[in-house]
Protein backbone atom coordinates (compact mmCIF):
# COMPACT_ATOMS: atom_id res chain seq x y z
CA UNK A 1 0.00 0.00 0.00
CA UNK A 2 1.11 3.56 -0.69
CA UNK A 3 2.78 5.01 2.39
CA UNK A 4 0.56 8.12 2.35
CA UNK A 5 -2.54 5.92 2.18
CA UNK A 6 -1.21 3.90 5.11
CA UNK A 7 -0.77 6.99 7.27
CA UNK A 8 -4.18 8.33 6.22
CA UNK A 9 -5.78 5.02 7.23
CA UNK A 10 -4.23 5.21 10.68
CA UNK A 11 -5.99 8.55 11.24
CA UNK A 12 -9.47 7.29 10.27
CA UNK A 13 -11.75 5.83 12.92
CA UNK A 14 -13.49 2.51 12.25
CA UNK A 15 -17.12 2.68 11.07
CA UNK A 16 -16.93 6.44 10.54
CA UNK A 17 -18.19 8.56 7.64
CA UNK A 18 -15.48 9.59 5.20
CA UNK A 19 -15.58 12.02 2.29
CA UNK A 20 -12.67 11.83 -0.16
CA UNK A 21 -12.38 14.91 -2.38
CA UNK A 22 -10.62 14.16 -5.65
CA UNK A 23 -10.81 10.47 -4.81
CA UNK A 24 -9.10 9.24 -8.00
CA UNK A 25 -9.83 5.59 -8.75
CA UNK A 26 -11.32 5.09 -5.29
CA UNK A 27 -8.55 2.79 -4.05
CA UNK A 28 -8.10 4.67 -0.75
CA UNK A 29 -11.83 4.53 -0.01
CA UNK A 30 -11.94 0.89 -1.01
CA UNK A 31 -9.19 -0.08 1.40
CA UNK A 32 -10.80 2.04 4.13
CA UNK A 33 -14.08 0.22 3.50
CA UNK A 34 -12.30 -3.11 3.84
CA UNK A 35 -10.03 -2.35 6.80
CA UNK A 36 -12.21 0.10 8.76
CA UNK A 37 -15.77 -0.62 7.57
CA UNK A 38 -16.28 3.07 6.87
CA UNK A 39 -19.21 4.58 4.97
CA UNK A 40 -17.29 6.46 2.29
CA UNK A 41 -18.09 8.82 -0.56
CA UNK A 42 -15.69 9.99 -3.23
CA UNK A 43 -15.99 13.20 -5.22
CA UNK A 44 -14.45 13.29 -8.71
CA UNK A 45 -14.72 15.13 -12.00
CA UNK A 46 -12.47 12.93 -14.14
CA UNK A 47 -14.64 10.49 -16.09
CA UNK A 48 -12.04 7.70 -16.22
CA UNK A 49 -11.59 7.95 -12.46
CA UNK A 50 -15.36 7.81 -11.97
CA UNK A 51 -15.52 4.59 -13.99
CA UNK A 52 -12.68 3.11 -11.91
CA UNK A 53 -14.57 3.99 -8.72
CA UNK A 54 -17.66 2.24 -10.08
CA UNK A 55 -15.58 -0.85 -10.87
CA UNK A 56 -14.09 -0.66 -7.38
CA UNK A 57 -17.65 -0.52 -5.99
CA UNK A 58 -16.95 2.76 -4.25
CA UNK A 59 -19.59 5.48 -3.87
CA UNK A 60 -18.62 8.31 -6.19
CA UNK A 61 -20.28 11.65 -6.86
CA UNK A 62 -19.51 13.59 -10.01
CA UNK A 63 -18.92 17.10 -8.74
CA UNK A 64 -16.41 19.92 -9.10
CA UNK A 65 -14.84 20.50 -5.69
CA UNK A 66 -13.81 24.01 -6.75
CA UNK A 67 -17.51 24.91 -7.09
CA UNK A 68 -17.97 24.36 -3.34
CA UNK A 69 -19.43 21.74 -1.05
CA UNK A 70 -22.84 23.36 -0.51
CA UNK A 71 -24.57 20.00 -0.74
CA UNK A 72 -22.75 18.68 2.35
CA UNK A 73 -23.95 19.90 5.71
CA UNK A 74 -21.84 21.11 8.64
CA UNK A 75 -19.82 18.44 10.45
CA UNK A 76 -21.66 15.70 8.57
CA UNK A 77 -18.49 13.64 8.06
CA UNK A 78 -16.02 12.33 10.60
CA UNK A 79 -13.15 12.76 8.15
CA UNK A 80 -12.79 14.72 4.93
CA UNK A 81 -9.75 13.74 2.88
CA UNK A 82 -8.00 15.62 0.11
CA UNK A 83 -5.14 13.52 -1.15
CA UNK A 84 -2.69 15.06 -3.63
CA UNK A 85 -5.34 17.35 -5.06
CA UNK A 86 -5.16 20.70 -3.27
CA UNK A 87 -2.41 21.97 -5.60
CA UNK A 88 -4.75 21.42 -8.58
CA UNK A 89 -7.59 23.52 -7.15
CA UNK A 90 -8.60 26.96 -8.34
CA UNK A 91 -9.54 28.07 -4.81
CA UNK A 92 -7.52 26.01 -2.31
CA UNK A 93 -8.24 28.23 0.67
CA UNK A 94 -11.99 28.29 0.05
CA UNK A 95 -12.10 24.52 -0.37
CA UNK A 96 -10.02 24.08 2.80
CA UNK A 97 -12.51 26.23 4.69
CA UNK A 98 -15.37 24.14 3.27
CA UNK A 99 -13.65 20.87 4.17
CA UNK A 100 -13.29 21.99 7.76
CA UNK A 101 -16.92 23.04 7.85
CA UNK A 102 -18.10 19.64 6.57
CA UNK A 103 -15.67 17.39 8.47
CA UNK A 104 -14.86 16.90 12.14
CA UNK A 105 -11.30 16.42 10.99
CA UNK A 106 -9.57 16.80 7.64
CA UNK A 107 -6.61 15.04 6.14
CA UNK A 108 -4.74 16.97 3.49
CA UNK A 109 -1.75 15.64 1.57
CA UNK A 110 0.28 17.45 -1.07
CA UNK A 111 3.71 17.46 -2.72
CA UNK A 112 6.30 19.78 -1.20
CA UNK A 113 7.41 22.50 -3.58
CA UNK A 114 10.16 23.40 -1.13
CA UNK A 115 11.88 20.04 -1.64
CA UNK A 116 15.59 20.47 -2.42
CA UNK A 117 15.24 19.06 -5.92
CA UNK A 118 12.63 21.67 -6.81
CA UNK A 119 14.76 24.42 -5.26
CA UNK A 120 17.84 23.22 -7.11
CA UNK A 121 15.96 23.05 -10.39
CA UNK A 122 14.73 26.61 -10.07
CA UNK A 123 17.97 28.02 -8.65
CA UNK A 124 20.50 26.39 -10.97
CA UNK A 125 18.60 25.30 -14.08
CA UNK A 126 16.51 28.46 -13.94
CA UNK A 127 13.36 26.66 -14.99
CA UNK A 128 10.19 25.49 -13.28
CA UNK A 129 10.83 22.12 -11.68
CA UNK A 130 9.92 18.98 -13.64
CA UNK A 131 10.40 15.71 -11.78
CA UNK A 132 9.06 12.16 -11.59
CA UNK A 133 6.57 13.35 -9.01
CA UNK A 134 5.56 16.43 -10.99
CA UNK A 135 6.13 15.46 -14.61
CA UNK A 136 4.48 18.52 -16.20
CA UNK A 137 5.66 21.66 -17.92
CA UNK A 138 4.48 24.96 -16.43
CA UNK A 139 1.97 25.51 -19.25
CA UNK A 140 0.23 22.14 -19.10
CA UNK A 141 0.38 21.22 -15.46
CA UNK A 142 -2.90 20.63 -13.63
CA UNK A 143 -1.02 21.71 -10.50
CA UNK A 144 -1.62 25.43 -10.36
CA UNK A 145 -1.26 26.25 -6.66
CA UNK A 146 2.01 24.95 -5.33
CA UNK A 147 3.15 25.50 -1.79
CA UNK A 148 5.82 24.37 0.59
CA UNK A 149 5.12 22.84 3.99
CA UNK A 150 5.96 26.18 5.56
CA UNK A 151 3.54 28.01 3.24
CA UNK A 152 0.78 25.61 4.14
CA UNK A 153 1.36 25.96 7.85
CA UNK A 154 1.25 29.74 7.57
CA UNK A 155 -2.08 29.45 5.76
CA UNK A 156 -3.39 27.18 8.54
CA UNK A 157 -2.30 29.72 11.15
CA UNK A 158 -3.98 32.57 9.27
CA UNK A 159 -7.18 30.56 8.96
CA UNK A 160 -7.13 29.49 12.66
CA UNK A 161 -6.82 25.85 11.67
CA UNK A 162 -5.40 23.48 14.28
CA UNK A 163 -2.77 21.08 12.98
CA UNK A 164 -3.25 17.85 14.95
CA UNK A 165 -0.55 15.82 13.19
CA UNK A 166 1.99 16.17 10.46
CA UNK A 167 3.75 13.31 8.71
CA UNK A 168 6.36 13.81 6.03
CA UNK A 169 7.33 11.09 3.60
CA UNK A 170 10.23 10.84 1.21
CA UNK A 171 11.40 8.58 -1.57
CA UNK A 172 14.34 6.85 0.13
CA UNK A 173 15.80 6.06 3.52
CA UNK A 174 18.58 8.63 3.33
CA UNK A 175 16.10 11.43 2.64
CA UNK A 176 13.80 10.17 5.37
CA UNK A 177 16.59 10.62 7.91
CA UNK A 178 17.30 14.10 6.60
CA UNK A 179 13.67 15.14 6.52
CA UNK A 180 13.45 14.59 10.28
CA UNK A 181 15.75 17.60 10.64
CA UNK A 182 14.76 19.72 7.65
CA UNK A 183 11.37 18.48 6.44
CA UNK A 184 10.73 21.51 4.30
CA UNK A 185 13.93 20.76 2.38
CA UNK A 186 13.96 16.97 2.27
CA UNK A 187 10.32 15.89 2.59
CA UNK A 188 8.48 15.03 -0.61
CA UNK A 189 4.93 14.59 0.52
CA UNK A 190 3.24 15.95 3.62
CA UNK A 191 0.15 14.64 5.34
CA UNK A 192 -1.66 16.95 7.70
CA UNK A 193 -4.46 16.10 10.07
CA UNK A 194 -6.45 19.28 10.71
CA UNK A 195 -9.43 20.50 12.65
CA UNK A 196 -11.20 23.77 13.27
CA UNK A 197 -13.74 24.53 15.93
Amino acid sequence: MRIDHEITQSWVKPKSRVLDLGCGDGSLLKSLMQSKQIQGYGVEINSDNILSCIRNQVNVIEQDVDAGLDNFSDKSFDTVIMSQAIQALLHPEKVLEEMLRVGQQCIVTFPNFGHWKARWHLAYVGRMPVSDLLPYEWYNTPNIHFCTFRDFEILCKNMNIDILNRQVTSDNRFSSILNKFRPNLFGETALYRLTKN
Partner: protein, 383 residues
Protein backbone atom coordinates in the same frame (compact mmCIF):
# COMPACT_ATOMS: atom_id res chain seq x y z
CA UNK B 1 -31.26 -5.85 -39.52
CA UNK B 2 -27.55 -6.55 -39.86
CA UNK B 3 -25.93 -9.61 -38.31
CA UNK B 4 -24.01 -7.62 -35.70
CA UNK B 5 -27.13 -5.79 -34.60
CA UNK B 6 -29.08 -9.04 -34.36
CA UNK B 7 -26.39 -10.47 -32.10
CA UNK B 8 -27.09 -7.77 -29.53
CA UNK B 9 -30.86 -7.92 -29.82
CA UNK B 10 -33.24 -9.92 -27.67
CA UNK B 11 -34.90 -10.87 -30.99
CA UNK B 12 -38.61 -11.43 -31.48
CA UNK B 13 -40.53 -11.15 -28.23
CA UNK B 14 -44.06 -12.05 -27.25
CA UNK B 15 -45.96 -9.84 -24.84
CA UNK B 16 -48.24 -11.56 -22.34
CA UNK B 17 -51.32 -10.32 -20.55
CA UNK B 18 -51.53 -11.23 -16.87
CA UNK B 19 -54.87 -11.05 -15.10
CA UNK B 20 -55.09 -10.11 -11.42
CA UNK B 21 -58.31 -11.03 -9.66
CA UNK B 22 -57.51 -9.66 -6.21
CA UNK B 23 -58.84 -6.09 -5.81
CA UNK B 24 -56.24 -3.32 -5.65
CA UNK B 25 -56.92 -0.44 -3.28
CA UNK B 26 -55.54 2.76 -4.76
CA UNK B 27 -53.98 5.79 -3.09
CA UNK B 28 -57.14 7.79 -3.90
CA UNK B 29 -59.20 5.33 -1.82
CA UNK B 30 -60.99 3.74 -4.77
CA UNK B 31 -60.60 0.07 -5.55
CA UNK B 32 -59.95 -1.69 -8.84
CA UNK B 33 -61.84 -5.00 -8.49
CA UNK B 34 -59.54 -6.72 -10.99
CA UNK B 35 -57.07 -5.64 -13.63
CA UNK B 36 -54.75 -6.80 -16.37
CA UNK B 37 -51.10 -5.98 -16.96
CA UNK B 38 -49.21 -6.36 -20.24
CA UNK B 39 -45.72 -7.68 -19.68
CA UNK B 40 -42.66 -8.59 -21.71
CA UNK B 41 -39.65 -10.46 -20.38
CA UNK B 42 -36.16 -10.85 -21.82
CA UNK B 43 -33.47 -13.30 -20.71
CA UNK B 44 -33.89 -16.18 -18.26
CA UNK B 45 -34.78 -16.15 -14.60
CA UNK B 46 -32.02 -18.10 -12.81
CA UNK B 47 -32.65 -20.88 -10.29
CA UNK B 48 -31.98 -18.60 -7.31
CA UNK B 49 -34.40 -16.05 -8.84
CA UNK B 50 -31.99 -13.27 -7.94
CA UNK B 51 -31.25 -11.89 -11.43
CA UNK B 52 -34.57 -10.16 -12.15
CA UNK B 53 -34.70 -6.53 -13.21
CA UNK B 54 -37.83 -4.40 -13.38
CA UNK B 55 -38.00 -1.69 -16.03
CA UNK B 56 -40.37 1.17 -15.14
CA UNK B 57 -41.46 3.22 -18.13
CA UNK B 58 -41.88 6.96 -18.46
CA UNK B 59 -44.85 9.05 -19.59
CA UNK B 60 -45.50 7.53 -23.00
CA UNK B 61 -43.67 4.19 -22.68
CA UNK B 62 -45.11 0.71 -22.49
CA UNK B 63 -44.12 -2.92 -21.95
CA UNK B 64 -42.36 -3.16 -25.31
CA UNK B 65 -38.89 -2.05 -24.19
CA UNK B 66 -36.68 -4.30 -26.33
CA UNK B 67 -36.67 -6.59 -29.34
CA UNK B 68 -39.19 -6.86 -32.14
CA UNK B 69 -42.75 -8.16 -32.25
CA UNK B 70 -42.15 -9.79 -35.62
CA UNK B 71 -39.12 -10.27 -37.87
CA UNK B 72 -40.61 -7.68 -40.22
CA UNK B 73 -40.95 -5.08 -37.44
CA UNK B 74 -39.00 -1.94 -38.33
CA UNK B 75 -38.98 -0.34 -34.92
CA UNK B 76 -37.63 -2.15 -31.85
CA UNK B 77 -38.79 -1.53 -28.26
CA UNK B 78 -38.28 1.93 -26.73
CA UNK B 79 -35.10 1.07 -24.76
CA UNK B 80 -33.66 -1.49 -27.16
CA UNK B 81 -30.36 0.42 -27.29
CA UNK B 82 -29.75 -0.37 -23.63
CA UNK B 83 -31.43 -3.78 -23.14
CA UNK B 84 -30.02 -6.91 -24.80
CA UNK B 85 -27.07 -9.30 -24.84
CA UNK B 86 -23.87 -7.37 -24.11
CA UNK B 87 -25.76 -4.12 -23.47
CA UNK B 88 -25.84 -2.28 -20.12
CA UNK B 89 -28.98 -4.20 -19.09
CA UNK B 90 -27.41 -7.43 -20.24
CA UNK B 91 -29.99 -10.12 -20.96
CA UNK B 92 -27.23 -12.74 -20.92
CA UNK B 93 -27.01 -12.10 -17.14
CA UNK B 94 -30.34 -10.62 -16.17
CA UNK B 95 -33.99 -11.58 -16.45
CA UNK B 96 -35.66 -8.34 -17.50
CA UNK B 97 -39.32 -7.62 -16.81
CA UNK B 98 -40.98 -4.74 -18.61
CA UNK B 99 -44.55 -3.73 -17.92
CA UNK B 100 -47.22 -1.45 -19.31
CA UNK B 101 -48.37 0.44 -16.25
CA UNK B 102 -51.89 0.42 -14.94
CA UNK B 103 -53.76 3.29 -16.58
CA UNK B 104 -51.78 2.74 -19.77
CA UNK B 105 -53.19 2.26 -23.25
CA UNK B 106 -51.21 -0.63 -24.64
CA UNK B 107 -53.09 -3.55 -23.18
CA UNK B 108 -52.98 -2.97 -19.43
CA UNK B 109 -56.16 -1.90 -17.70
CA UNK B 110 -56.66 1.81 -18.27
CA UNK B 111 -59.21 4.49 -19.18
CA UNK B 112 -59.85 2.95 -22.60
CA UNK B 113 -60.54 -0.52 -21.12
CA UNK B 114 -64.07 -1.74 -20.48
CA UNK B 115 -65.29 -1.25 -16.93
CA UNK B 116 -66.80 -4.65 -16.02
CA UNK B 117 -69.38 -2.93 -13.83
CA UNK B 118 -70.93 -0.99 -16.73
CA UNK B 119 -69.75 -2.77 -19.86
CA UNK B 120 -68.61 0.66 -21.13
CA UNK B 121 -65.13 2.15 -21.46
CA UNK B 122 -63.91 3.62 -18.16
CA UNK B 123 -63.18 6.99 -19.79
CA UNK B 124 -63.53 9.86 -17.35
CA UNK B 125 -64.39 7.52 -14.48
CA UNK B 126 -61.04 5.75 -14.43
CA UNK B 127 -59.42 6.54 -11.06
CA UNK B 128 -56.55 9.00 -10.81
CA UNK B 129 -53.42 6.97 -10.14
CA UNK B 130 -50.31 7.83 -8.22
CA UNK B 131 -46.81 6.45 -8.63
CA UNK B 132 -47.28 4.28 -5.52
CA UNK B 133 -50.26 2.54 -7.16
CA UNK B 134 -48.00 1.41 -9.97
CA UNK B 135 -45.38 0.26 -7.48
CA UNK B 136 -47.96 -1.82 -5.59
CA UNK B 137 -49.27 -3.35 -8.82
CA UNK B 138 -45.68 -4.11 -9.88
CA UNK B 139 -45.06 -5.80 -6.51
CA UNK B 140 -48.01 -8.07 -7.21
CA UNK B 141 -46.49 -8.83 -10.59
CA UNK B 142 -43.24 -9.77 -8.81
CA UNK B 143 -45.24 -12.11 -6.54
CA UNK B 144 -46.89 -13.65 -9.59
CA UNK B 145 -43.48 -14.23 -11.23
CA UNK B 146 -42.04 -15.68 -7.99
CA UNK B 147 -39.52 -12.86 -7.59
CA UNK B 148 -38.91 -11.97 -3.94
CA UNK B 149 -36.24 -9.41 -4.63
CA UNK B 150 -35.30 -7.51 -7.77
CA UNK B 151 -31.60 -7.30 -8.57
CA UNK B 152 -32.51 -3.78 -9.68
CA UNK B 153 -35.47 -1.55 -10.37
CA UNK B 154 -34.61 0.85 -13.18
CA UNK B 155 -36.40 3.84 -14.63
CA UNK B 156 -35.91 7.14 -16.43
CA UNK B 157 -38.00 10.25 -15.74
CA UNK B 158 -41.40 9.11 -14.39
CA UNK B 159 -39.84 5.62 -14.31
CA UNK B 160 -37.15 6.92 -11.95
CA UNK B 161 -39.91 8.11 -9.61
CA UNK B 162 -41.30 4.56 -9.55
CA UNK B 163 -37.84 3.15 -8.83
CA UNK B 164 -37.37 5.56 -5.90
CA UNK B 165 -40.86 4.78 -4.56
CA UNK B 166 -40.00 1.08 -4.75
CA UNK B 167 -36.95 1.68 -2.54
CA UNK B 168 -39.20 3.19 0.15
CA UNK B 169 -42.32 1.02 -0.12
CA UNK B 170 -40.50 -2.31 -0.45
CA UNK B 171 -36.96 -1.66 0.80
CA UNK B 172 -36.10 -5.35 1.10
CA UNK B 173 -37.36 -6.21 -2.35
CA UNK B 174 -34.63 -4.53 -4.44
CA UNK B 175 -30.84 -4.51 -4.21
CA UNK B 176 -30.22 -1.66 -6.63
CA UNK B 177 -32.27 1.38 -7.54
CA UNK B 178 -31.35 3.12 -10.79
CA UNK B 179 -32.80 6.58 -11.26
CA UNK B 180 -32.12 8.34 -14.57
CA UNK B 181 -33.10 11.93 -15.46
CA UNK B 182 -35.66 12.08 -12.67
CA UNK B 183 -36.68 14.21 -9.68
CA UNK B 184 -38.08 13.86 -6.17
CA UNK B 185 -40.89 16.22 -7.23
CA UNK B 186 -41.72 18.42 -10.16
CA UNK B 187 -41.15 22.16 -10.11
CA UNK B 188 -43.99 24.64 -10.71
CA UNK B 189 -42.69 25.25 -14.24
CA UNK B 190 -42.74 21.54 -14.92
CA UNK B 191 -46.34 21.18 -13.68
CA UNK B 192 -47.22 24.20 -15.83
CA UNK B 193 -46.02 22.44 -18.97
CA UNK B 194 -48.09 19.38 -18.08
CA UNK B 195 -51.17 21.47 -17.41
CA UNK B 196 -50.83 23.26 -20.75
CA UNK B 197 -50.63 19.87 -22.47
CA UNK B 198 -53.72 18.65 -20.59
CA UNK B 199 -55.61 21.81 -21.49
CA UNK B 200 -54.82 21.21 -25.16
CA UNK B 201 -56.55 17.82 -24.85
CA UNK B 202 -59.44 18.95 -22.70
CA UNK B 203 -60.27 21.93 -24.91
CA UNK B 204 -60.54 19.71 -27.99
CA UNK B 205 -64.30 19.63 -28.87
CA UNK B 206 -64.01 15.87 -29.36
CA UNK B 207 -62.88 15.32 -25.75
CA UNK B 208 -66.42 15.08 -24.29
CA UNK B 209 -65.15 15.36 -20.70
CA UNK B 210 -63.03 12.27 -21.25
CA UNK B 211 -65.87 10.08 -22.58
CA UNK B 212 -64.94 10.44 -26.24
CA UNK B 213 -65.07 6.66 -26.82
CA UNK B 214 -68.79 6.68 -25.96
CA UNK B 215 -69.17 9.28 -28.72
CA UNK B 216 -67.10 7.19 -31.13
CA UNK B 217 -64.52 9.92 -31.52
CA UNK B 218 -61.01 10.92 -30.38
CA UNK B 219 -59.53 14.27 -29.29
CA UNK B 220 -56.70 13.67 -31.75
CA UNK B 221 -55.95 17.34 -32.40
CA UNK B 222 -55.67 18.12 -28.70
CA UNK B 223 -53.49 15.10 -28.01
CA UNK B 224 -51.22 16.00 -30.93
CA UNK B 225 -50.71 19.51 -29.52
CA UNK B 226 -50.11 18.08 -26.04
CA UNK B 227 -47.42 15.87 -27.48
CA UNK B 228 -45.84 18.79 -29.35
CA UNK B 229 -45.61 20.80 -26.14
CA UNK B 230 -44.08 17.85 -24.35
CA UNK B 231 -41.70 17.10 -27.17
CA UNK B 232 -40.31 20.65 -27.23
CA UNK B 233 -39.48 20.38 -23.54
CA UNK B 234 -37.79 16.98 -23.96
CA UNK B 235 -35.25 18.40 -26.41
CA UNK B 236 -32.64 21.05 -25.76
CA UNK B 237 -32.50 24.41 -27.51
CA UNK B 238 -29.04 23.53 -28.75
CA UNK B 239 -30.01 20.04 -29.92
CA UNK B 240 -33.09 21.32 -31.75
CA UNK B 241 -31.04 24.11 -33.35
CA UNK B 242 -28.44 21.63 -34.49
CA UNK B 243 -31.00 19.27 -35.98
CA UNK B 244 -33.39 21.75 -37.60
CA UNK B 245 -31.91 25.23 -37.38
CA UNK B 246 -34.10 27.59 -39.43
CA UNK B 247 -34.23 25.19 -42.35
CA UNK B 248 -37.32 25.46 -44.51
CA UNK B 249 -39.58 22.59 -45.41
CA UNK B 250 -41.41 24.52 -48.10
CA UNK B 251 -41.87 28.03 -49.49
CA UNK B 252 -39.25 30.76 -49.66
CA UNK B 253 -38.52 34.28 -48.49
CA UNK B 254 -37.65 35.53 -51.96
CA UNK B 255 -38.96 39.09 -52.28
CA UNK B 256 -41.87 39.43 -54.60
CA UNK B 257 -42.93 35.83 -54.06
CA UNK B 258 -46.06 35.29 -52.02
CA UNK B 259 -45.37 31.80 -50.70
CA UNK B 260 -46.32 30.31 -47.38
CA UNK B 261 -43.16 29.40 -45.52
CA UNK B 262 -42.97 26.32 -43.38
CA UNK B 263 -39.96 25.56 -41.19
CA UNK B 264 -38.60 22.03 -40.80
CA UNK B 265 -39.26 22.14 -37.08
CA UNK B 266 -42.95 22.84 -37.75
CA UNK B 267 -43.47 19.77 -39.91
CA UNK B 268 -41.35 17.68 -37.54
CA UNK B 269 -43.56 18.62 -34.59
CA UNK B 270 -46.73 18.06 -36.62
CA UNK B 271 -45.52 14.62 -37.60
CA UNK B 272 -44.58 13.78 -34.00
CA UNK B 273 -47.93 15.02 -32.72
CA UNK B 274 -50.04 13.26 -35.35
CA UNK B 275 -48.31 9.91 -35.12
CA UNK B 276 -48.50 10.03 -31.31
CA UNK B 277 -52.23 10.89 -31.41
CA UNK B 278 -52.83 7.79 -33.57
CA UNK B 279 -51.17 5.42 -31.12
CA UNK B 280 -51.82 6.86 -27.66
CA UNK B 281 -54.87 7.47 -25.53
CA UNK B 282 -55.70 11.01 -24.41
CA UNK B 283 -57.03 9.97 -21.00
CA UNK B 284 -53.87 7.95 -20.37
CA UNK B 285 -51.82 11.03 -21.25
CA UNK B 286 -53.79 13.07 -18.72
CA UNK B 287 -53.48 10.32 -16.10
CA UNK B 288 -49.71 9.92 -16.58
CA UNK B 289 -48.98 13.65 -16.48
CA UNK B 290 -51.09 13.98 -13.33
CA UNK B 291 -49.18 11.14 -11.68
CA UNK B 292 -45.99 13.03 -12.52
CA UNK B 293 -47.36 16.24 -11.00
CA UNK B 294 -48.67 14.52 -7.87
CA UNK B 295 -45.44 12.69 -7.09
CA UNK B 296 -43.58 14.04 -4.09
CA UNK B 297 -41.13 11.51 -2.72
CA UNK B 298 -41.06 12.87 0.82
CA UNK B 299 -44.69 13.98 1.25
CA UNK B 300 -45.48 11.13 3.64
CA UNK B 301 -42.14 11.59 5.43
CA UNK B 302 -42.78 15.02 6.84
CA UNK B 303 -41.34 16.49 3.62
CA UNK B 304 -37.90 15.28 4.63
CA UNK B 305 -36.26 13.27 1.83
CA UNK B 306 -33.44 12.24 4.19
CA UNK B 307 -35.94 10.62 6.57
CA UNK B 308 -37.52 8.94 3.53
CA UNK B 309 -34.27 7.53 2.14
CA UNK B 310 -33.20 6.30 5.58
CA UNK B 311 -35.81 3.59 5.03
CA UNK B 312 -34.24 2.49 1.75
CA UNK B 313 -31.86 -0.47 1.67
CA UNK B 314 -30.89 -0.48 -2.00
CA UNK B 315 -27.73 0.90 -3.53
CA UNK B 316 -28.44 3.80 -5.88
CA UNK B 317 -27.18 4.87 -9.26
CA UNK B 318 -28.38 8.36 -10.18
CA UNK B 319 -27.71 9.84 -13.62
CA UNK B 320 -28.56 13.16 -15.20
CA UNK B 321 -27.84 14.93 -18.50
CA UNK B 322 -26.49 18.45 -18.61
CA UNK B 323 -28.82 19.69 -21.38
CA UNK B 324 -31.95 18.28 -19.71
CA UNK B 325 -33.88 21.31 -18.51
CA UNK B 326 -37.15 19.45 -17.86
CA UNK B 327 -35.48 17.19 -15.26
CA UNK B 328 -32.37 19.25 -14.70
CA UNK B 329 -29.18 17.87 -13.12
CA UNK B 330 -30.00 19.98 -10.03
CA UNK B 331 -33.02 17.73 -9.40
CA UNK B 332 -30.80 14.64 -9.53
CA UNK B 333 -28.23 16.34 -7.30
CA UNK B 334 -31.00 16.87 -4.72
CA UNK B 335 -31.67 13.13 -4.74
CA UNK B 336 -27.96 12.44 -4.27
CA UNK B 337 -27.61 14.96 -1.45
CA UNK B 338 -30.50 13.35 0.42
CA UNK B 339 -29.07 9.86 -0.14
CA UNK B 340 -25.67 10.88 1.23
CA UNK B 341 -27.25 12.48 4.28
CA UNK B 342 -29.25 9.28 4.78
CA UNK B 343 -25.99 7.28 4.66
CA UNK B 344 -27.07 5.33 1.58
CA UNK B 345 -24.72 4.01 -1.08
CA UNK B 346 -24.86 6.09 -4.25
CA UNK B 347 -23.03 6.69 -7.51
CA UNK B 348 -23.85 9.91 -9.35
CA UNK B 349 -22.90 10.85 -12.88
CA UNK B 350 -23.79 14.03 -14.77
CA UNK B 351 -23.48 13.19 -18.44
CA UNK B 352 -22.72 15.74 -21.11
CA UNK B 353 -25.29 15.34 -23.87
CA UNK B 354 -26.99 17.63 -26.41
CA UNK B 355 -30.20 15.55 -26.32
CA UNK B 356 -32.08 17.14 -23.41
CA UNK B 357 -34.48 15.02 -21.39
CA UNK B 358 -34.72 12.44 -24.20
CA UNK B 359 -31.00 11.68 -23.75
CA UNK B 360 -31.73 8.68 -21.54
CA UNK B 361 -33.30 6.91 -24.53
CA UNK B 362 -30.74 7.87 -27.16
CA UNK B 363 -27.89 5.59 -28.30
CA UNK B 364 -24.25 6.33 -29.03
CA UNK B 365 -23.46 8.28 -25.90
CA UNK B 366 -20.22 6.59 -24.77
CA UNK B 367 -20.10 8.08 -21.29
CA UNK B 368 -23.72 7.16 -20.48
CA UNK B 369 -23.10 3.66 -21.84
CA UNK B 370 -19.85 3.20 -19.88
CA UNK B 371 -21.23 4.30 -16.52
CA UNK B 372 -24.47 2.37 -16.97
CA UNK B 373 -22.71 -0.80 -18.18
CA UNK B 374 -19.97 -0.75 -15.56
CA UNK B 375 -22.45 -0.15 -12.77
CA UNK B 376 -24.72 -2.96 -13.97
CA UNK B 377 -21.69 -5.28 -14.10
CA UNK B 378 -21.16 -4.78 -10.34
CA UNK B 379 -24.64 -6.16 -9.56
CA UNK B 380 -24.12 -9.63 -8.17
CA UNK B 381 -26.31 -12.50 -9.35
CA UNK B 382 -26.09 -16.27 -8.84
CA UNK B 383 -25.00 -18.42 -11.76
Amino acid sequence: MTQSLAKHSVGVVQPQCIKFQKPLTLACGLQLPNYELMVETYGELNAAKDNAILICHALSGDHHAAGLHSPQDKKPGWWDHYIGPGKPIDTARFFVVSINNLGGCNGSTGPSSIDPATGQPWGSRFPHLRVRDWVHSQARLADYLGIDQWAAVIGGSLGGMQAMRWSLEYPERLRHCIVIASAMKLTAQNIAFNQTARQAIMSDPEFHQGDYLLHNTLPAQGLAIARMIGHITYLSDHGMGKKFGRDLRSGSFTQGKNELVKFQIESYLEYQGDSFAKSFDANTYILMTRALDYFDLAREYNHDPVAAFELARAKFLVLSFNSDWRFAPERSAEIVTALIKANRDVVYGEIESPHGHDAFLIPQQPRYWDIFKNYMATIEVSN
